[in-house]
Symmetry: C2
Subunit: 145 residues, 2 copies
């Protein structure tokens, strides 16, 4: 999660909503990414999807079995479904996201019978650090607008 | 929808699950794509996401206001959330997808109070043609395996 937080800080520094994600296999990080929605003009350039795409290139398969994801914020419905498709074994996330999350809130992607792969989910890991970065980012945005 | 079906046929020809999508603005197609999950080894390379990404590059903004999407199959939860983020005005889809859909089935992405943009949805457009292509594809897959 420390590596994911560093990625989130990089997003913050470039004016993107500060969210970072990494994919790890056997305890080693194999891919890392941060949110790039604004710079890429791409609604799918969330940290989680970018990290899954990079990991798939390294593994040589979109099936990331025996891989875990660490992400600083509860994934949205789009990313949660992507995480399910990629067959991520365990999902660790930092801050909870009642407004935009899709794991413990909103669409609750992993709860539906049609969801074919449900990772083990551990929320609230380094929650304070992840949340502090997001709070600071949105405070800055409000002051600028 | 005819253009989306042509895209689906291209996917079929290259061994990908035959799904096609287009983004249209003022009645003209501005972006088209088909499913490329296997060839790109990318769980996010669904026709809808690729079409949204291409349209965003053309428009110069990830916000595709006043744009409509035509897709041959009911979008999954990942793509439905992406369609919401992109602010697509109307979503026309072909075949219904009880097992994998996320609009009228499963996570029903647009029904949650936390879903900030809900497109108008018109399902079943050219349903027979879209379904026939999918049925033929999976029949071929089963015969080969």
């Amino acid at each position: 999660m420390q590596h994911a937080l560093l990625e989130a800080q990089q997003a913050f520094a470039s004016g993107e909503v500060p969210i970072g994600a990494v994919v790890a296999r056997e305890g080693a990080v194999i891919a890392a990414a941060h949110n790039l929605v604004e710079s890429r003009k791409d609604i799918a350039a969330h940290a989680e999807i970018l990290a899954l795409q990079r990991a798939a290139q390294i593994v040589g398969d979109w099936r990331l079995e025996n891989c875990d994801m660490y992400v600083t914020l509860e994934p949205c419905a789009m990313c949660a479904q992507a995480i399910s498709y990629a067959r991520i074994r365990r999902l660790y996330f930092g801050a909870y996201n009642p407004k935009g999350g899709g794991v413990d809130h909103g669409a609750r992607i992993f709860t539906h019978p049609t969801c074919l792969h449900k990772p083990e989910v551990i929320g609230g890991v380094e929650e304070t650090a992840a949340q502090e970065l997001l709070t600071r980012f949105f405070k800055d945005v409000r002051q600028e607008s």
